[in-house]
């Protein structure tokens, strides 16, 4: 199931929890649990914060579109490696990977 989640996300580029639940013939609640597990084990990374608990200094809080934002996870290097997916890249090409840009 967890591998299928990673595979579907990698193949489709962007996928919603509900679509994952349908594809896996399970409930969105179980998919959320699986996503949390994948994030806890560094196969996914949450990139859009759940703003219900956003801190006062969050840059998104200064904007007006922060209260009902989608929660977003992205496949990490470890997640891509687990699938042997070479299409997902994380390194830099012409931009320095250290220090400032």
């Amino acid at each position: 199931m967890l591998r299928t989640i990673l595979r579907l996300a990698a193949d489709l580029g962007t996928i919603r929890c509900e679509e994952l639940a349908r594809a896996l013939n399970t409930s969105p609640e179980l998919v959320r649990l699986a996503l949390a597990e994948l994030a806890r084990r560094d196969y996914l990374q949450a990139v859009a914060p759940d703003c219900s608990t956003a801190c006062e200094h969050c840059p998104l809080r200064a904007a007006f579109l922060y209260r009902r934002q989608p929660r977003v996870w992205v496949i990490t290097r470890k997640g891509a490696a687990a699938m042997g997916d070479r299409r997902i890249h994380f390194g830099l090409t012409h931009v320095s990977d250290r220090g400032q840009f």
């Binding site: 967890l2 591998r3 580029g13 962007t14 919603r16 399970t26 409930s27 922060y66 830099l92």
Partner: protein, 672 residues
Amino acid sequence: MNRMPEPAQQERMLLVGLAGQPNVGKSTLFNLLTGLSQHVGNWPGKTVERKEGTLAHNKTRMRLVDLPGIYSLTAHSLEEQVARDFIIQEHPDIIVMVADASSLERNLYLLAELLILHVPVVLALNMLDVAEAQGIQIEAHVLEAALGLSVVPIVATRNQGLAELVAATGHLASNPDTFHPARPQIAAPHRQVLEQLKEMVAGQVPAPFDPDWVALKLLEGDAEITRKAKGWAGKLVWPGIEVLLRAHEDAVLDIASGRYEWIGRMVRAAVTRPRFGQVSLTDKLDRFAVHPLWGLVILFSVFAAVFWLTFTLAVPLQEWLDVTVIGQAREAARHLLADEPGWLAALVAEGILGGAGLVLTFLPVLALFFGALALLEDTGYLARSAYVMDRFMHALGLHGKSFLPLFLGFGCNVPAVMGARVIESRSGRLLTILLAPLVPCSARLVVLAFLTPAFFGTAALPVALALVVLNLLVLALVGIMLNQTLFRGQHMAFIMELPLYHMPNARAIGAFVWNNTWAFARKAGSFILLASVVVWALSYFPTGTLEQSYLARIGQTLAPLGGLMGMDWRMLVALIAGFVAKENVIATLGILYGQGGGGLAHTLAAQVTPASALAFLTVTLLFIPCLATVAVMRQETGSWRWTLFDVALLLAIALGAGILVYHGAIFLGMRG
């Protein structure tokens, strides 16, 4: 059930652990079962509270230990470690696991881990009333059959089902051989590896640890067990185990998958969820709202509706304020200051009222615009539009992860640039920062909303929408270009959870509109006022006539460039003034073009040709960002090189697009 048993009647004392996640009613159940027999201490060597109590059932006494609320047994937290150690070290006769029936999936994960520890479990299915209120039906006997263990429905807050729970616990304690639960299995790819590992650790694991459980935890990557096993196995055996574990680092995916598939089977067997209400409504609406084609159509229609509302309701009000309020105020100022030096009357009437005063008339436009966006945001639609746009950006080869901060740019480019912090890769963050100024911010949209009706009358709405689409197309093209050159086409994969649709909250929307319009008013009274005075001074001195002013001299040196886009020097100066703040574009136009009886809109319509106007609006949307955005770009990139590169790139794009649009418009027959 008797909380104060007579010792003489007792035959045996059972050790029972009460496990469960936080907030499932475990403490309520513990209090009801043990009453006054409780005593509280700490777990040995830990700061976690340990609560114990006793109760009796028939001739059996039970020592009940309330374990800390935990989500799993992975020993990630002190509480989880305490619970795990209790089960392994103290060998409870029974674990009563309390589960929240309204969130069964989440609770079954803990049960899956308890069953792997081979401890007898009774499942107390609490909060059935809450589940039923949510329309969730759980068939306890079906769940019991599927799990292969006792499932006792209870409502702890009403003291319901407690006697049955104690009886089931006593029965299992008396008949431990009847406990044959359906345990989760590791998914196929790593079953053989687990067997191999079991053989390797057999004989190495000391009591009270179960070798099979240790093997599973090793394969799962459990840090604490790995550390212990390294010591147990010693230098001879451990290297072989380590090689095997390294070769199967991702086995945890198959172990956890086995648990999730097991949970899925149990829930499918015993749980029926409602097909009505908010979730179902969200599903129905999302069939269209996030559809690849209809989603885009809806998104475009929604933004068109926002512009239509702005043009229909707010722009006429703005024009009335401009002509009536500001116009009369200027007349009054000229009249009152008639005996004062000429420059003073001109400063107040043209510089302050004609500049910053004019900008203040946009309060209704902004209020409506912010109100519409807040409404869309509060209903949950904006999250869908982000999803639709994300697909769109993927299709165009843009860096998909950038959608969130870029979307914030519709409000203001400053948080859009700052919002790029959520992107962990430097390249992705940089690309997002470089693209953020190309998102038409609310200030630029206000300029658009004001000028398009002035220039294009009834055709204002399609023209404004076309310009916004053009703006987004340029953003996409620049994204593709940068992505293919500097960033070599990175492919990112996302999983997104969209919020449910929601009835908007009028108070929240009102507060949001107030905060933003008030912030705008303060800006008009500070930065824009100062900039207006400076622009006015440059346009007035040294002779008191615009044509011979300092600004005219500066502007006329730029006139050849403006000529390529059909703009006179005043329009170029207005664009440059927008660098301080985009609203200054209108303030400067107000000062430089003056305002006749019909207000600035009519003055501009009379003096600027449609082709020039179109080029001017295009350049306004694509022009270099405001000073605040540039400063934040420098701060976030930490590099003047990238900041100036982006400013130069945007300048070139804006001027190039202006020239193309102007000549294209003339080619298509527009008056130049």
